[in-house]
């Protein structure tokens, strides 16, 4: 768990982060969004003390980060930056082994961990372990960057625009991979992005920053239904909001009893995708089945539309 309390950063007269407080629960993903220069990176970098706060404090699992020597703190916090920052003079496996080596793990343990991570990120050790970063594609470099950040099994992972340089297809794959890995490892993640789709896809909670201030920190649906300020509404895309809301809700929540004709939808489908199916098939209703294939009810256009309605 990360608790940020009244964190402020000033450079001379300019306030770059202004009295920000927020809490990231154990094993969840908090996404920070906002315009360029809003102070997102600075906020993130104050968590691992790459930037020293002017005032306020950060607690990790209840411990003030100021009470931990900074290098030791950073050994325990994974850090991924936009350009990945891979060491060009080190191979993929040496890059991944960076923190374990700093921590003095023995060779065998490091080698085993590197192989495990290469597997996890679908990089064949035989092919990739000995390659240098310049021999990798952008997507592969990105995976190595994340693998390196996870090497010493940090409980906290900080990611500053980790997918910024990827093309849309690879990017959405990388996001899914991150979600899968996060569920498996249960890490607490703070991720900065410019991409609102990414924020809604990944975030358990989303923090909206503008001009050094934290405008709102809430669950994605809350951000859509109750934006705290016009800026939040604007950032989430005024016209897009109903559709985003539908993407966040699953068929399960709009299920009604009864039956319908046609190809069945699964309970875990999002309302967004369900509506797309209904439109494409020209239907008003479709049957719904659970994961085991048993019919459990039906979904209707009317119910879906009701879920996309925003409070006036």
């Amino acid at each position: 768990m990360i608790e940020i309390e009244h964190l402020t950063k000033r450079y001379g007269e300019t306030i770059v982060v202004d009295d920000v407080s927020l809490r990231v629960e154990e094993g969840t993903i908090a996404v920070v969004v906002g315009t360029s220069g809003a102070g997102k990176s600075t906020l993130l970098r104050m968590i691992n003390r790459l930037v020293e706060p002017s005032s306020g404090r950060v607690l990790i699992d209840g411990r003030d980060t100021l009470s931990i020597p900074e290098d030791e703190l950073r050994h325990r916090i994974g850090y991924v930056i936009q350009a990945y920052g891979l060491f060009p003079h080190r191979t993929v496996s040496q890059n991944i082994a960076t923190v374990p080596r700093l921590l003095g793990w023995d060779r065998k343990k490091i080698a085993a961990r590197v192989d495990e991570l290469l597997d996890l990120f679908q990089l064949d050790p035989g092919e990739f372990a000995g390659k240098f970063p310049h021999e990798l594609s952008g997507g592969q470099q990105q995976r190595v960057g994340v693998a390196r950040a996870l090497a010493a099994k940090p409980a906290v992972l900080l990611m500053d625009e980790p997918f910024g340089a990827l093309d849309p297809v690879i990017r959405s794959k990388a996001q899914d991979d991150l979600l899968a890995i996060q569920r498996r490892l249960g890490a607490t993640i703070v991720l900065v992005t410019h991409d609102m789709n990414e924020a809604f896809h990944l975030g358990d909670r989303i923090a909206v920053m503008d001009q050094a201030r934290l405008l709102q920190y809430a669950a994605p649906a809350e951000l859509l239904t109750h934006p705290a300020e016009p800026f939040v509404e604007q950032l989430t895309g005024t016209a897009e909001r109903p559709f985003r809301l539908l993407s966040l809700t699953r068929v399960k929540e709009a299920l009604e009893p009864g039956d319908a004709e046609g190809e069945a939808l699964v309970l875990s489908t999002t309302l967004h995708d369900a509506l797309a199916r209904l439109i494409a098939l020209g239907k008003d209703a479709l049957p719904v089945i659970d994961a085991s294939g048993k019919a459990v009810g039906r979904i209707t256009v009317e119910r879906i539309l009701a879920h996309g309605r925003l409070p006036a």
């Binding site: 950073r74 930056i81 350009a83 990945y84 920052g85 891979l86 080190r90 191979t91 700093l102």
Partner: protein, 251 residues
């Protein structure tokens, strides 16, 4: 390097070794250049010994330049030393702009004749290329790599030894190579103040009007320069390759 270039280097090396170990074998080449039955091959000392002491002076002077210039380059790129950057730059620049002959002239009264003044001149002259290349190499380290190193908890020393210096190494080596090559040529003037070196052969030739001597001295220095230049170039590329850089990126 192409096969032809390689053959050429090998031939140059064989020629050089043969010439400094058994110069009399080549007397017939130089004989036509002499007049009044003057000796065709330098006869006041062994060419081999002169070559070795020439190399020794250059090696020691460059070693000293390297230690100081790299050390200074590291120091002024640390936060604690950054305010000394302009000062170090001008000092090192003075070392380069002061002609070695003038350094010899000043050094001789202070340290006497022999190898010492030559060493001082070469040392001062060799500082600039190494210092500037150290600065360039360190400043070319990708900022993201440094940020990542810091973010993963490397301390200042670990960042320097594990990230900055390895990445700057090819550029630093290129600076050292430049100093060595400059030093090889410049060391010849050391013979004017009685340093043992190949300059002796050239000067003897000039004094006795013996073109053969001048040519011999010049030839050995030139061959040494070409071979050392290439040898160090190969070493640099090997280092760059081990450091994971595409070879064509290294000039």
């Amino acid at each position: 390097m192409s096969a032809r270039a390689l053959t050429f280097r090998a031939a140059a090396l064989i020629l050089l070794v043969a010439f400094i170990t058994a110069p009399q074998l080549f007397a017939f080449v130089f004989k036509p250049l002499t007049v009044n039955d003057a000796p065709a091959i330098y006869n006041h000392g062994s060419l081999l010994a002169l070559t070795l002491s020439h190399l020794r002076t250059v090696f020691l002077a460059t070693l000293a330049s390297t230690v100081l210039a790299v050390g200074l380059g590291i120091f002024v790129t640390r936060p604690s030393g950054s305010e000394f950057l302009p000062l170090s730059r001008s000092l090192v620049n003075i070392g380069q702009t002061f002609p070695p002959v003038a350094v010899l002239a000043i050094a001789v009264p202070l340290v006497g004749f022999g190898e010492k003044p030559t060493f001082i001149a070469l040392f001062l002259y060799g500082l600039l290329p190494i210092f500037e290349n150290t600065l360039a190499g360190l400043s070319e380290v990708p900022p993201q790599a440094l940020e990542a190193a810091k973010g993963m908890g490397m301390n200042a020393r670990q960042r320097l030894l594990q990230v900055e210096l390895p990445l700057a190494l090819p550029v630093i080596l290129a600076g050292i190579r430049l100093s060595v090559i400059i030093g090889l040529g410049t060391a010849t003037i050391g013979s004017t103040v009685a340093a043992k070196g190949l300059g002796e052969v050239i000067i003897a030739g000039l004094q006795s009007n013996n073109v053969a001597f001048v040519l011999q001295g010049g030839l050995v220095v030139a061959l040494l320069a070409v071979l050392i230049h290439d040898g160090m170039g190969i070493a640099e590329r090997a280092v760059a390759k081990r450091l994971g850089r595409p070879v064509d990126e290294v000039a």
